[in-house]
């Protein structure tokens, strides 16, 4: 039984002559504890797919099921609750609020859910310890490196024990050694039973996933296990 499914998902933007078909009849199943990487050239719809799967956006047609619950029919508030309690996110750029310390950033999902600061902060610090950032708990984002910021974002995602963690280009702004460290962290999470859906350009990093889903022009064109995949997209290739 997949924890996350997409059924004939289509997503259109705009109308009339400026209509863009971002996703077209996408079908995808993600099993519990599976780590999948979505690859494809820029504009192929991978970030749109991640947003639709992650209840950030709604499909124009088709269904997205999280634990068999159709996300498309939910109200904005209900989708907010799903994101708050069942989904974790890691992005390339905007990951942490610059006005809060690392621990306060990690504690955000709990505090949004109504937990008092005093109760949320110890749990946030424990999550930071999990990603090796206990010593950075009181530091502000501008006092941390890019890799540390991403690790803090992963700690925030892990804190709520989500059904799925969505990571959109989590290593895009990092050097190779930091990128490797982040991927290892995500791999460790997946090995611990955490479901992870990651969008990346880097084929080498994608190979650390269980499966690589390749997209082109809004469709999934390949979904082979990582060790069998021939996907080779990289930032250098996308410009072609």
């Amino acid at each position: 039984m997949p924890i996350l499914s997409a059924r004939k998902v289509c997503k259109q933007y705009g109308a009339g002559p400026v209509q863009v078909q971002a996703l077209l009849d996408v079908d995808l199943d993600v099993a519990t504890g599976e780590f999948i990487a979505i690859m494809g050239p820029s504009g192929c719809g991978k970030s749109t797919l991640l947003q639709v799967l992650g209840a950030i956006d709604t499909p124009t047609t088709g269904q997205v099921l999280l634990d068999s619950q159709d996300l498309g029919g939910l109200s904005d508030t209900a989708r907010s609750l799903i994101r708050r309690r069942r989904i974790g996110f890691v992005f390339q750029k905007i990951n942490l609020l610059p006005t809060l310390s690392a621990a306060e950033n990690v504690a955000l999902p709990l505090r949004i859910d109504g937990l008092a600061r005093r109760a949320a902060l110890p749990r946030a610090k424990a999550a930071l310890e999990q990603v090796g950032l206990a010593h950075r708990a009181d530091h502000f984002p501008h006092e941390m490196s890019g890799g540390e910021q991403q690790r803090a974002a992963i700690a925030r995602a892990l804190l709520i024990h989500p059904a799925v963690i969505f990571a959109d280009e989590p290593t895009g702004a990092l050097d190779s050694s930091n990128a490797q460290r982040i991927i290892e962290l995500l791999r460790t999470c997946a090995d611990g039973g955490q479901t992870i859906v990651m969008v990346t350009h880097d084929a080498n990093l994608a190979r650390r996933a269980d499966r690589i889903v390749v997209m082109s022009d809004g469709r999934i064109v390949d979904g082979a296990p990582a060790d069998e995949s021939s996907a080779t997209f990289s930032p250098a290739e996308e410009g072609r």
């Binding site: 950030i56 904005d76 907010s80 750029k93 905007i94 609020l97 006005t99 505090r111 949004i112």
Partner: protein, 836 residues
Amino acid sequence: MNLLDLIVHQWLQRPARTILSALSVAIAVAAVLGTAVAQNSVRSADRSLQALVEGPPAVDIISTEGGRIDASRRPNLDGIPGIAGSYSVTSRATLLRAHGQRMKSIVVGLPLQQSAAWETLPLVAGRYCREANEATLAADMANDLGVKLGDSLTLLTRRGPRTMTVVGLVESSALSALSPGASGALPLADIDRYFDLGGSVDRVRVLLDSADGRPRVESALRDRMPTTLQVQNTGQQSQLADTVLRSTELALRFSGALSLAMATFIILNTLRMNFAERRREIAVLRVLGATQRQLVALHLTEGAALGLMGSILGIPLGLLIGRGLGQAMQRLLDSHGDTGEISYRTIGWAMLAGPLVAGIAAIVPALQSRHVSPREAMTGAEPRRAEGLPLWATVGGSLIMVVAVGLMLLVMTTRLPVEMAIPAGLLLLLAFIVIIPAMIGPVARGAAKLLCPWWPLESDLATAQLLERRIRTGLTAGVLVVAVNAGLGMGNSIVNNVDDVHDWHRRWLSNDVSIHDPRVHDTAATSEDRIDFREQILARSGVAGVVELQFMAARAGAMPVDCIVRDFVPGDELPWSIIAGSAENCALRLQAGEAVIGGVLAHKLGLSVGDPLRLELGGRSLSLPVAAIANDYFAGGLIVYLDRGAAAKMIELGPPAVYFVRASANTSAESLLESLRPLANRNQLVIRSFAEARERLDRLIRGIVGALWGLLAVGFVVGCAAVANALTMNVLEQTGELGLLRILGMTRRQVRKVVLCESLLLGILGIVLGTAAGVVTALVIHFCNEPLLGHPVPFKFHFPLLTANTLGCLLVALVAGWSPGAKAARLDLATAIAYE
């Protein structure tokens, strides 16, 4: 590089931002106009109050020898600034006869060709005199005699009886202000002919543009006049014009300066926010070869252009606000007040104010742009930078504050003219606002604790955002601080001044009816034997008490003063409040032969309670101990009060000039008036009720207070716009972060609460810091009042004003936060997380 093209291109790229920036200037320009309207309304109501108490501002030129002035000796007044007009006045005692009734009276002669002279007498019915043998009568005298328009009136003159036609009825109080006790006005040429005056006149009345200009006009007149002439304050004219109104005028000028300061803060904040958002683009321009000078010119040009656009938008907005305020004033004043007309000059100033203030405000981002490095364009998206606590501003602000406090102390100790209180006050406020960023931390955190029980996360996030943008927050809160400061500090001062006049007037008019002898001010009038008149009044039904008064000219030290000799009864309320001395035994000390003097006289002669007062009165030279110093506006505080019984033992007293009659508990003023009217008529005395005067005063005070609320409302409307502007910028800047919060599970409602929290915190900052500034301003104005007025106005802190300001700030916060909050809640998540 064509800078104008670049500016227009940037505006078109971000139309919403451009409109918001121009609207900020528009709001500032509208505020300047709106404040001007509110000022006009307050000023108009104040002038009416002044006219009610003392008549229009004027001075008289009289002969030093006490005689009349020949037409040939009349000084040339051409070219003296501050003079609205002048006319000759002559008064004569006569006997009026109409419908078989006779009444002793004083008639005033005014030149037919001088419409300004006649217009000082408000018409109740009919018209002013246009030709010889026409007369206007005091409305209540006409009522007493049963005279109507068109009736004939006979005057007993030196050339025998002369018949005239009554063509107009005028307000009695205005005639009395022109000449005490006068009950009719005739053409000057008729008086001259009837009384064989040979072209000479009693005095020349010089009307002033405003009471403020009195000292300058007096000085200019003295320079031009021969020694046989002297300048004298008009009739019963008090120094209200020079003192209380001057104080209010100063407060209004201060509020005008504050509205400009608010405008500058709003525009400065907007341009700074524009700059912060555009920093990367500026870096790109630097890479492309733009010099620092070009960038400075770019910002200054943009500031001036936005200012011009704002002026064009703001003037209609200001006129709309002005019209609304004017109508509100009209309703408050029962259609008797000025509706807040705006002159073309004011509009011209407002038109200039936009580009000027925006140009000045643009200096800050212009200078900041010089420090943008081309390297910033080469790196990726810059992380947001927190605005640190500007140490230079805190130190500079503290130094300015020390200078401002020093200036204030010099004003308070009369070492500097009181007008210097305006720049000193502005400097003090500016210094306060400059150091606000240093005070924001503890206040914002304290305020967040108030919101924490309901909105813990939202208040934390809001506090963090406000503290990260300390300067923006400081400038935005600064606008609210200025609004609260104006509403609380100046409002408190205006209300205290008005209360003081009101209290004095209430004490003076504590009786219900006055009966007076119209000839008492005329030296030619004969004494009438009314020894038992007091008993006759007391014998009428509904009379609870009678106070007899007599007005006498005197000299205290070398100074001409008025002396009022009246009954003082221990236990009765005194006709003024006491500044120094004891109110309890004041009446007893007066009965023992001591004197009470006005605060201004005490100030000028340097007298305290117990000091001997050297008084020349009734041909005698007296030395009387000062029993108390009174807060009295009568004769501008240059006044001496004596008890009638005690004075009778020292000098020869004639019959009383005025009887104040108090009605008994179950008698109305109207029925008392009707009860006493036959007695007054039989003795040829004028009888009046105080009810109308009290009602008019109350209405005018309502008008002043109403206009004050209007002034306060303008401040808050501007504050609301400033907060909304800053919050919109915050939301724009936080787009990515708000998007992240939504992705992490925040509902739209929670996001709206975050913005509302920011708004409420700004409101609370405005309340706390504005109240502190307002209390200081109120105290500073209070202490400046003493050198200004010659006596202190009792200080009272008006909590309703504090409540109104607090509620105003909270309302502003709620209203201002609504739209940005809704905008934040509507953010498209996919777009928001991609926002840079």
